[in-house]
């Protein structure tokens, strides 16, 4: 297998700025920040600075931030910590982790149309709405949920720049989405009074175990760098996104583009008719291009993407791309030429 030269997958190498600081953070992050030794106080100071950095980057109050050693745990905290008497609403294109986390509440799955759009219910005070700021697969942006009357749990695990509505109650981010170190989530809670910890607990802490301090510090650095790069590369990514859409439609054809035209520019999902995604992903990897797919044949649970199925999009032959600030025009050209070649190759047997 050849070496990968261009990464278009949801996960990428840790950001160089974070990698540079990670080793130093591990050296300094061995002590217990709650104790009074010199090293503990020093670490507590670094963590406080990291928390302030996250607060600035994500535009949420520092005191609302809690670090998770397991990001997926945040779905449980957000879905099950609010009043249990009402309905839980979530769109059909929500993450599987959100569906899996809901335990005892009455749940209404909100239907989506072919563009991934859905109607935000008015809700009542005891209800919960789980939204995704930016859909992880398609990049579809969440509709305005500011009129929802109940609690709002915001899944922002796909994009640190996703817009958090003013009426948010809880929110979740994943360090991987900004090329921070893996194994760190950020759970934010706006108001503790309406939330009860659904985890076994014996004190006021939201997350008893916390997270590795070295990962927190390195992730804060990655986030600052990543946001700065994203802001300056938005136009470039939008141009690449438009170019890919145009190329796969006119030069390859028989393609179903699941990402709405106004989706986040760094995410793009499309499916080629009569193409087996597993083979396509393998062949692309051999040619140096790392890509994802939501098709059943390469899914861990052997089921096609529920997002594509809910939207009525083609589920086979699916390709998911994530464009990075570091993605170059040369990467895109190489990706498209090889996709065209391999798709045509598979369709020859038709």
């Amino acid at each position: 297998m050849g070496s990968v030269t261009a990464i278009f997958t949801a996960e990428n190498r840790i950001h160089p700025a974070a990698e540079a600081i990670l080793q130093e953070a591990i050296s300094q992050g061995w002590s217990d920040p709650t104790k009074l030794h010199h090293s503990s106080r020093r670490l507590a100071q670094l963590l406080s600075e990291a928390q302030a950095s996250f607060s600035r980057s994500l535009q949420i109050p520092a005191e609302s931030i809690h670090f998770l050693g397991e990001p997926t745990l945040g779905f449980h905290l957000g879905a099950n910590g609010f009043a249990s008497s009402g309905e839980t609403y979530l769109p059909a294109t929500s993450r599987q982790e959100a569906f899996a986390a809901i335990s005892s509440r009455q749940t209404q799955t909100l239907p989506v149309d072919i563009q991934g759009e859905w109607a935000v219910p008015a809700g009542e005070r005891e209800d919960l709405l789980i939204i995704q700021t930016v859909n992880l697969e398609t990049g579809a942006i969440c509709p305005d949920a500011s009129h929802f009357q109940g609690d709002l749990f915001v899944d922002s695990t796909s994009d640190p720049l996703g817009k958090i509505p003013k009426n948010w109650s809880a929110a979740l981010w994943d360090s991987v989405s900004w090329q921070g170190p893996r194994g760190l989530g950020i759970f934010a809670l706006k108001d503790h009074t309406r939330w009860t910890n659904p985890l076994p607990h014996n004190d006021h802490r939201v997350v008893p175990g916390g997270a590795n301090p070295a990962l927190v510090i390195a992730s804060a650095v990655a986030l600052e760098a990543s946001i700065a790069e994203r802001r300056t590369s938005q136009d470039k990514l939008q141009e690449f996104n438009s170019y890919i859409r145009s190329y796969i439609t006119s030069e390859i054809g028989d393609v179903d583009i699941a990402s709405p035209i106004n989706a986040a520019p760094h995410l793009l999902s499309f499916s080629f008719l009569y193409v087996q995604a597993e083979q396509l992903v393998d062949d692309m990897e051999k040619r140096g291009f790392s890509i994802d797919s939501g098709s059943a044949c390469i899914s861990a649970n052997i089921e096609a993407s529920h997002v594509l199925a809910a939207m009525g999009r083609l589920t086979h032959g699916n390709i998911r791309l994530r464009l990075y600030p570091s993605t170059t025009r040369e990467d895109i050209e190489g990706l498209l030429i090889n996709l065209k070649d391999l798709v045509e190759d598979q369709r020859r047997s038709l």
Partner: protein, 67 residues
């Protein structure tokens, strides 16, 4: 009615088998597709939208398509 038996085959093969048969059929003909792949109905609806054909689900493993 022509029958395309794709039982036991996984996506995208049932849709490929169907498309080959559609090519060899006359406009207005009805084809029956047999497929037990759980993704078939979702993909058949998407295929119908993309190619301009009408399709319907008869039961969980039987589908009809108008060429």
């Amino acid at each position: 009615m022509k029958v395309v038996d794709a039982r036991g085959k996984l996506c995208p093969q049932p849709i490929i088998d169907l498309a080959v048969e559609v090519r060899n059929s006359n406009s207005g003909e009805i084809l029956q597709l047999l497929s037990d792949d759980p993704a078939t109905w979702a993909d058949l609806q998407a295929w119908s939208r993309m190619t301009g054909h009408l399709s319907r689900q008869v039961n969980s493993a039987t589908f009809e398509v108008e060429v």
